[in-house]
Symmetry: C2
Subunit: 542 residues, 2 copies
């Protein structure tokens, strides 16, 4: 894990460090063109040129609470907090026109200031959108006014405290810490959260908790809601603090109401989470399973016999094929291709990346255990090269998305989870639905899938699709596919989201997820904690 | 695990099978007398003689809903559902006078009937107490009328369905299944829940879920709320069903609101939970740590390095001493004593029982791993004899309690949990508080403690105390100690309950546990699901 720098602002129209590009090589671009046709690049304007509505004036009490320097109203500040980083966000940013932006960006300096700002906003009826890293891919930070005329975004970056309890291996962290900042602070104590989602470089502790983040490939110990031991929430109705004990039977778990609340109940001002010693050894290895069914059987066996690697990612046939042809990391690709061609002559096969972290001896013991299961499941070892290449490029996905958009391709991801008994059906139905929805728009695409989180009772499925854009109709194109995939998920009984959250994009599916009375129950909680309904309007609860 | 018989009714005045006694031997009784003085036995009457108020008439619609044979109003039925099995319950039963009893015991035959009964009760304003095994030790099934003139107990024993998904290793179980019944049904599919609390022989699946049960010594995989993947709740306002997927990020976890709700939100009509293959091998071993601090350091190291046995129980010095002198299982005791005396000449030392279950090879691998940590922590092996003796007697505790009551001794347990950094302080303060509260009443007692659930960030503490009864003032004696212990727990910041639940006894401490706004949030949930407030009046929420 490299934590080499303070995190600067993201590329305004896309993902990540403006100085960094992850290029697709010629071979990959050629493959893409051969498969789905030419891309249809659109124009991209400038940050200054992005059209947003004029800000409405806010009461002076806000600036009095946090200090005038902590209230930002400049065009750039407002544009930068007006979207997350989902595909529709990028389309809108590139098109240079956003429906709305917050009237101001407010940066409270501590939990008490958060509480006072919420009091003012509740009294004055001002909507509040919490903002961490701004990495939501489901519209979670979109400035939706709902019934409010005025709306602020509350940027939590100044809440960045760290306390470590080395005996209990827990850390209490400020919500505004970005992934690398948190890891840097923890590394000084010799510990790590071990939570590395693809958004790691920009996403924050508060966002991890509020949206139930899961590492892109962290079956071992990376799902954030499992790490959290306690939370503090500043709600308009007051402060909610859960007891920081390893477990309690004192009634329903309020912590589990705050986790996943996506800013609709209040602002998470502190998160306590389990940490562990910085791993002594880290090993990656890739394997090739004969097909997706045998691959999932292998992962299931591992999960059900306590033999899961800390990282396990099984690509389906389509993803394996694309990864071999399109990997941006030439070295890894060549290593992988060589091993692959040497081992298997027929088409098909599914790549399985495994990773282990921890004490050297434990890593070796667990590697041997997994190797036995992999072999008896019919998988062939590809050595450590491809696995390490994957690890090096684990944060590249969203950078590649910008490249593909530049080339005129739509690229989007969505995810779900289900019991093992229904996983194959879910995979096939969702893939087919995405494929059909793209073909029906005369933009046939590549649809790939993988398993990245395994549990004893089931696993997540993560889909990526790439197709030529429909310039001028990008959002319609996206919505059509999204609906088709979501309907297929609901039809098979999977969850509408394993780790992206609900935000705006999944709102129509919350009823299928939790039922009518489930929604009513969540609304009752919101009404008690946020009687004026100012918190993150239009998210989570339809 | 022996599941040899259908479970009959419990001893009316105490715990367990009326045909079974777990006797204290002469040596143990002598030791007890020497330490805390003579017991003060009281009289015990008959079931027929227990005085309860006359039942009030109920609307005919209830009998029409479930059938007249499923509405029981006889004296014995009412007495048997009028208490749980906490110490105050036993005192009241033996004294032959209960404050109240349900007007009728209603046994619905399926989830739809549960829903219809709740509708009738909500309309007619009749309180409803859900009843599974009746094993609550915190007053969870006490017939408290609150503002209702009429009250029924809903006995769920007829909801005993079982469905197993062998691929996903999950089972969907009726709430009325007692532990042995559930295990018997699962064994036919070659799987087990692996959940064996001390109440296992009588407690039910619904109760495990509603009260967040934890096995008395099941660090590995036994906490029930961790096993549950989905629940169905029949609430007066309708049905709440959570999606049965391995994980979801679709908002706050409603499942975690139902778990621990103790019947105050509705009736759990179905529980889906993870199961696993019936273990091929089961091994127990006992060790002796130099003292409680080094013992907890050993358990902490295991928990923080993924090396926890499935069962781990560390007795403090006092419990170790008492276990050596008072064990009801002579063979185990002698084996243990021999090993102990051979190994250590000085007083002190803390016994550590470890257990492993699973595939033979995994058991041996994990045993070796644990042995290394035990040895480097300064523990000495006592062999498998004492560990196996402990395993054989794991359900004996409540039988022994009846024997002690017969001899005129009060015996009670209470439990908590905290972070490792505060565990020693919590242990010392609570032990001291109990000891002082007993001494102040001129009934000095034995106070013992153990760790039975370990987590990477902390552990549970379980206390047992024995003292001569204060006949005629038993309840006052009990309450004084309970308050002193609870105040000490709150003072040090531990949870008021790791797995017994809130019920009636812990009501005064809920505010310290979840805070004022936490209580308000739970009340908002209750008001939405149970607008008339009929569900388990007077429990969980003060």
């Amino acid at each position: 894990m490299t934590v080499e720098r303070a995190v600067g602002p993201m590329k305004w129209y896309g993902w990540g460090d403006p100085e960094r590009r992850v290029r697709l090589d010629e071979e990959a671009i050629a493959m893409l063109r051969a498969e789905v046709g030419e891309g249809r690049p659109g124009d991209r304007g400038s940050l200054e040129g992005v059209v947003i509505p004029a800000p409405r004036p806010l009461p002076a009490t806000i600036a009095e609470t946090v200090g005038p320097a902590a209230v930002l109203t400049g065009h750039e500040h407002r544009v930068r907090r007006a979207t997350g980083r989902g595909y529709p966000d990028l389309v809108r940013l590139r098109a240079g026109r956003l429906d709305d932006a917050p009237d101001a960006v407010v940066l409270p300096g501590n939990a008490a200031e958060v509480g006072r700002v919420l009091e003012v906003c509740a009294r004055e009826r001002i909507g509040v959108v919490p903002f961490g890293g701004g990495t939501s891919v489901v519209g979670g930070v979109q400035p939706v006014r709902g019934r409010f005329e005025r709306l602020i975004t509350l940027d939590l970056r100044r809440l960045h405290g760290t306390r470590v309890d080395r005996t209990s291996l827990t850390a209490t962290l400020g919500p505004g810490l970005r992934g690398p900042e948190a890891e840097e602070a923890l590394a000084a104590h010799g510990v790590t959260l071990g939570h590395f989602p693809q958004s790691f470089e920009y996403a924050t502790i508060g966002g991890f908790a509020a949206a139930r983040s899961a590492g892109q490939a962290s079956s071992g110990h990376g799902r954030f809601d499992d790490l959290v031991t306690a939370v503090r929430l500043a709600a308009p109705a007051g402060e909610l603090e859960t007891l920081d004990v390893p477990h309690t039977a004192a009634g329903p778990a309020l912590r589990e109401l705050v986790l996943g609340s996506e800013g609709t109940l209040g602002i998470i001002t502190e998160v306590s989470a389990r940490v562990r010693a910085v791993p002594e050894r880290r090993r990656y290895a890739a394997w090739m399973a004969p097909d997706f069914s045998s691959g999932t059987a292998i992962v299931r066996t591992m999960a059900q016999s306590d033999a899961l690697p800390d990282v396990v990612r099984l690509s389906d046939e389509a993803e394996t094929r694309v990864a071999l042809g399109m990997s941006g990391t030439g070295g890894g690709k060549r290593a992988l291709l060589g091993a692959y061609l040497g081992l298997r002559r027929r088409r098909g096969g599914c790549m399985l990346v495994c990773g282990w972290e921890g004490e050297a001896e434990a890593v070796e013991r667990r590697r041997a255990l997994a190797a036995r299961i992999l072999r008896s499941g019919g998988a062939a070892g590809l050595g450590s090269g491809p696995g390490e290449a994957w690890e090096r490029s684990r944060y590249d996905g969203p950078y590649l998305r910008d490249e593909l958009l530049d080339l005129g391709y739509m690229v989007e991801t969505l995810e779900t989870a289900h019991a093992w008994a229904r996983l194959k059906e879910l995979h096939d139905e969702v893939r087919a639905a995405i494929g059909a929805a793209l073909a029906a728009q005369e933009t046939p695409g590549i649809v790939t899938g993988h398993v990245s989180h395994a549990y004893p009772d089931g696993a997540s499925l993560y889909f990526t699709f790439i197709a030529p854009r429909r310039p001028g109709a990008d959002l319609e194109q996206w919505r059509t596919v999204k609906e088709a995939a979501s309907d297929a998920i609901v039809e098979v009984g999977g969850t509408i989201t394993h780790h992206h959250g609900i935000g705006r994009d999944h709102l129509p599916y919350m009823r299928a997820e939790v039922g009518g009375l489930g929604l009513e129950t969540l609304r009752a909680v919101k009404e008690r904690l946020d009687p004026a309904g100012i918190m993150n309007p239009g998210k989570l609860l339809p």
